[in-house]
Amino acid sequence: MMHAEKGHGARQEAAAGPKAGGGPRAVAGALRKPTRRHRIQIFEDIPKRGFAVTAIVSFLVMLAFWSILSYGNMVSRVFLPTPDRVLHTFFDLLGTQAYWHHIGISVFRVSAGFALACLLAIPIGLIAGTFRFAEAFVEPPMEFIRYMPAVAFIPLIMVWAGIGEWAKILLIFIGCFFQLVLMVASDTRQVSKDLVQASFTLGASRWQAVQTVVIPAVQPRLMNTMRLMLGWAWTYLVVAELVAVNSGLGYAIMKAQRFLNTDQIFVGIIVIGLLGLFSDRIFAFLNRRFFPWV
């Protein structure tokens, strides 16, 4: 918005320039229409409406591409169902109680695994980011473990935790925890050292500086990190639900595959996408609500 106004002002000025300041030497040629600034500028903001319209266009392009492939019979409908078929199935499935049960159990698993990871990773990450000794103790092993694929832990998890709810939660936890510790530590290190020093000159002890400066300062970045991590949690959920389960969205997707119900696979994926989008929006909202000072 701001930029659009500024840009407009600048154009007006440019237009008025030759008339006002030209004086007697101004020739007719100087009054030609100023050339317009190009709309696409590096890093510059665009009007809010322009952004929304472009985003909608992007979705429409995807939909158009899909429609051409499916309605045009370029791909067999067994492999790629038509959009209207998926929409139809979407409402069909959401009309059944069983599907809501799948959604419910999946949301529960993601929330539990993610919450557990946050609960443990955030304090550890905060300490590792604040004190170099803690960093040396915590980070090298974490760096090592995080490159181990969480999925490869599945057999081990089944040995440890069986195939019950804990197994799914544990996989999501393992997938998120190590990354989260490192990301929180990195967020914490970005807190301005000057602010901490300012608190020292105001009489803060080290503990008080952590409490009254490091923790409040890191919160907005922390929220953003959690928001990113939640996306990962959903990915690990689907992996967790592909093996030895009989409920959840991942299971619904697997079952649909067995009967070649690709439309149901699409619905499962879209539902997970929508859930992710929804939780993402909640985080974005909370960020604005709690941190108006950013």
């Binding site: 301005s192 000057d194 602010l195 020093q197 300012a198 608190s199 020292f200 000159t201 105001l202 009489g203 803060a204 008080q208 009254t212 400066v213 409040p216 300062a217 919160q219 941190f291 108006p292 000072w293 950013v294």
Partner: protein, 271 residues
């Protein structure tokens, strides 16, 4: 009166009178990178009386900021010692308030909460805290901005809050590290007057760092000139200008004479 109580009385009196006297005794600072050692500060000796306003001027990299940070306790001297009212500095503390060049207000606190930060840490009850913040909001003329967040303030206002925040903590000494360096010329002049106004009311010791000669003369009672390689004092000037500094002081012949002297000293050193 026994000898003991007399001694205590005297000690208490000198403590009350010695409100923020700084003594810098042979302070040096060197950094080691690999095998080469870089000496940032050599043997600095300096005494600053209680309630004095002293400015250190010098080019960038002469170590003046390092010296100030050593007094603040944010950096450790390699040799020597700093004392405030006879007590050795071993780390940062509430007795030495500081205003930094960069903006260091806590962005998640309002102007009032920033000012009350120090008293709150000390456990001052809320009503007293309110009284303190009201007083400093008034002195720095920020009353109507009490509930704003720092991001809603201009640069000059932010530094006014930073000064208010430091003073609200009741420090003996106010350390200022080029606090107006990032401000535009007009705001800078206003802030200098505001600072003198506040200092007249508060009478704390001020140690002020700048590379702006005009600023140094306008503000201080005494000016010390530093040069680099290693950081050392190369000149000391008493500012013989009226205590009441009005903008007209800048036209005063003594002001201009001192300005020429300082400029030539600094220029000489750079050549």
């Amino acid at each position: 009166m026994t000898k003991e109580t007399l001694a205590r009385e005297i000690r208490m009196e000198t403590e009350a009178a010695g409100h923020g006297a700084i003594a810098i005794r042979g302070v040096g600072k060197s950094y080691r990178t690999g095998k080469t050692e870089f000496q940032a500060l050599g043997n600095i000796r300096l005494d600053i009386a209680a309630n004095e306003f002293v400015t250190i001027v010098g080019p960038s990299g002469c170590g003046k900021s390092t010296l100030l940070r050593i007094v603040a306790g944010l950096e450790e001297a390699s040799v020597g010692e700093v004392t405030v009212d006879g007590v050795a500095v071993v780390g940062p503390g509430a007795d030495r308030g500081m205003v930094f060049q960069g903006y260091t207000l806590f962005p998640w606190l309002t102007v009032r909460q920033n000012i009350e930060y120090g008293p709150k840490l000390k456990g001052v009850p809320i009503l007293e805290r309110r009284a303190v913040s009201n007083r400093y909001l008034r002195i720095t003329r920020l009353e109507s901005f009490a509930n704003r967040f720092p991001k809603q303030l201009s640069g000059g206002m932010k530094q006014r809050v930073a000064i208010a925040r430091a003073l609200a903590n009741g420090p003996k000494v106010l350390l200022m590290d080029e606090p107006f360096g990032a401000l535009d010329a007009q705001t800078k002049l206003e802030m200098q007057e505001a600072l003198l106004d506040v200092w007249a009311k508060e009478k704390t010791t001020v140690l002020f760092i700048t590379h702006d000669i005009d600023e140094a003369i306008f503000l201080s009672q005494r000016i010390l000139v530093m040069a680099a390689g290693p950081g050392r004092m190369i000149g000391e000037y008493q500012v013989a200008l009226p205590a009441e500094r009005t903008p007209e002081v800048r036209e005063h012949p003594d002001f201009l004479k001192l300005k020429r002297e300082l400029a030539s000293l600094l220029k000489h050193k750079e050549a």
